[in-house]
Amino acid sequence: MNEPAEIRSFVAELLRRKGDQAPFTDSESLILGGRLQSIDAVEIVVFLENRFGLDFAAIGFDQTQIDSIDLIAALTGKRPAAESTAGLRSL
């Protein structure tokens, strides 16, 4: 499995555990859009530390850095950085 696909698969599993099986695009905002919460962001951080050896203590951390598949892939150096498209909680 290539790395962006691995990231996508990890995020899909996170969403599935929350009962969210709706599709998502690589540019979709997942945290700021409300589909993932801060505790899910923690799981992504741990995944990135373990799988890609990222050290957030050295590079700094903000939720916006891991808000979409594109942004996560950019962090791991596999894609150019792109902005996410934030959605809204219903109503």
Binding site: R16, R17, K18, G19, D20, Q21, A22, S29, L32, G33, G34, R35, Q37, S38, I39, V42, V45, V46, E49, F56, A57, G60, F61, D62, Q63, T64, D67, E83, S84, A86, G87, L88, R89, S90, L91
Partner: protein, 474 residues
């Protein structure tokens, strides 16, 4: 958010999903459509909000000149906060302690202007020296400045206007400290906003508390509407939210009438007082008082939070709601996330993540638990302490700090609850059956917060005795 978790029945909507109708979105992009939307919103805001005329005028300008949005937000914010917000009550207190003749002009030159320079200076330092302590750990720097100010205010031999000015400066600093932390953090990024735009995020015109809603400039850039269609969807959601808010405020009115006037359910503080006086109220009234208070708090926070967010959305920012279906929470951590979202986000951004990425990296559960403790307990107490530091002018600094020991105990219990709910293995939604997930789990979560609330309003000893009385019934 969480489409599959939406409340039962799944497809029923009290307010329809108008934003998904292309005809509505197309109409809202026309001038009559925009005016209709603004009229409906203005009507609702006039019932719910203060200074609605100015807010409506600002939103109207932003709607028709979206390219000047950030400038208009800054202007509106400065107008509505009277060129930086003062806690007049604290100032009066300071003035009462050391009577001094001071005018608005002297306030401006000795308090507001130095504060503006301090903010601008710190943001400039963050932007210029991104890898310095100011750029990387803004909150640490701000806490250092706040502590120094506090020591000067409490112990320096100051009298008359000087004493008043130092306390007023400290009070202003405390009112803006979390905003400044977000701004300094944003300035340290390559895309950081300019100083004038940052000023618009300081108690923005749609309303806020000591908690920046919705967060700082970096977040604003991510959620700002980028196209006419995007703006139309955001505004429709703003109108829907204020309509829901209006409905909720009516429900709250009837609820209070029913619970307090018809059923005469007492407030929790009355229950505690009666218990401590040795004449406890009836067992059922005691039990009903806590969930009633929780429900009232939920309605109250939802109403003001929705009003802020609806106005923010009308200004073109796709902000998430501050309170989102907390009664459906299946875990303590989920409720904490849904109850006061932007306060939780503040604690997460300022305390949780900085701790999490640095401490106990080899021990996953301890890592989460410790970061949760730092955020939900230490950060939470510190936040509330900064809000009330001005009371140290009347009491000593030590007395003010010690008065927070009960709150600290409450926050430790809260952190414990959140940490446990976070480190427990999470089961996929739908794996435990509808009744357990939709009824039992939310009821347990609400029960936890009801019991916890006892320690929010009374000290640990009497709180524990009162809980025993509740559980034993005598």
């Amino acid at each position: 958010m969480l489409p599959a978790v939406s409340s039962w029945p799944k497809n029923f909507r009290l307010i329809p999903r108008l934003e998904n109708d292309p005809r509505v979105i197309a109409f809202v992009q026309t001038v009559p459509g925009k005016l209709a939307l603004l009229a409906v919103f203005g009507l609702a805001l006039s019932i719910l909000g203060s200074a609605w005329q100015l807010k409506l005028a600002l939103i109207t300008c932003i709607t028709f000149v979206p390219q000047a949005r950030r400038l208009l937000v800054t202007i509106g914010t400065l107008l509505l906060t009277d060129f930086f917000w003062f806690n007049r009550g604290a100032l009066a207190l300071a003035a009462g302690r050391s009577p001094a003749g001071f005018s608005r002009a002297s306030e401006f030159f000795w308090i507001i202007l130095p504060f503006v320079f301090l903010c601008a200076g710190l943001m400039w330092l963050s932007a210029t020296y991104k890898n310095s302590l100011v750029g990387r750990r803004p909150l640490l720097v701000l806490m250092g400045i706040g502590s120094a100010l506090l020591l000067v205010a409490c112990y320096a031999p100051l009298f008359g206007f000087a004493r008043f000015a130092v306390w007023a400066f400290l009070d202003t600093f405390c009112l803006y400290v979390w905003y400044l932390a977000y701004s300094m953090s944003d300035c340290a990024t390559p895309q950081g906003d300019r100083l004038l735009s940052q000023a618009g995020t300081f108690h923005p015109f749609w309303g806020s508390t000591s908690v920046p809603i919705p967060k700082g400039a970096r977040h604003w850039r991510t959620i700002e509407a980028r196209s006419p269609e995007d703006l139309a969807v955001t505004m429709v959601k703003g109108v829907k939210l204020i309509a829901w808010c209006l409905l909720l405020s009516r429900v709250q009115g009837y609820y209070v009438l029913l619970v307090h006037q018809k059923l005469a359910i007492p407030a929790p503080s009355q229950c505690i007082q009666a218990f401590q006086a040795g004449q406890p109220l009836g067992w059922a009234r005691n039990w009903l008082s806590w969930p009633d208070d929780l429900l009232q708090q939920l309605m109250e926070i939802s109403i003001w939070g929705h009003t802020f967010i609806a106005t923010c959305r009308m200004a073109g920012f796709r902000a998430l709601r501050n309170t989102y279906a907390p009664l459906s929470s299946r875990t303590i951590a989920e409720y904490w996330n849904r109850y006061y979202f932007y306060f939780k986000e503040l604690l997460v951004d300022m305390f949780f993540y900085p701790t999490f990425i640095r401490c106990f990296k080899r021990y996953p559960k301890l890592r989460i638990a410790f970061a949760t403790f730092v955020a939900a307990s230490l950060g939470n107490t510190l936040f509330h302490l900064t809000r009330t530091l001005h009371t140290a002018i009347s009491f000593s600094l030590l007395t003010t700090i010690l008065s927070f020991r009960n709150y600290f105990f409450y926050s430790v219990l809260l952190a414990l609850g959140i940490a446990l709910s976070q480190v427990r293995p999470r089961k996929p939604l739908g794996s435990r059956g509808w009744f357990r997930e939709r009824v039992v789990a939310p009821a347990c979560v609400l029960g936890f917060y009801c019991f916890l609330h006892v320690f929010e309003i009374t000290s640990p000893g009497p709180g524990l005795r009162y809980l025993l009385f509740l559980l034993k019934g005598k």
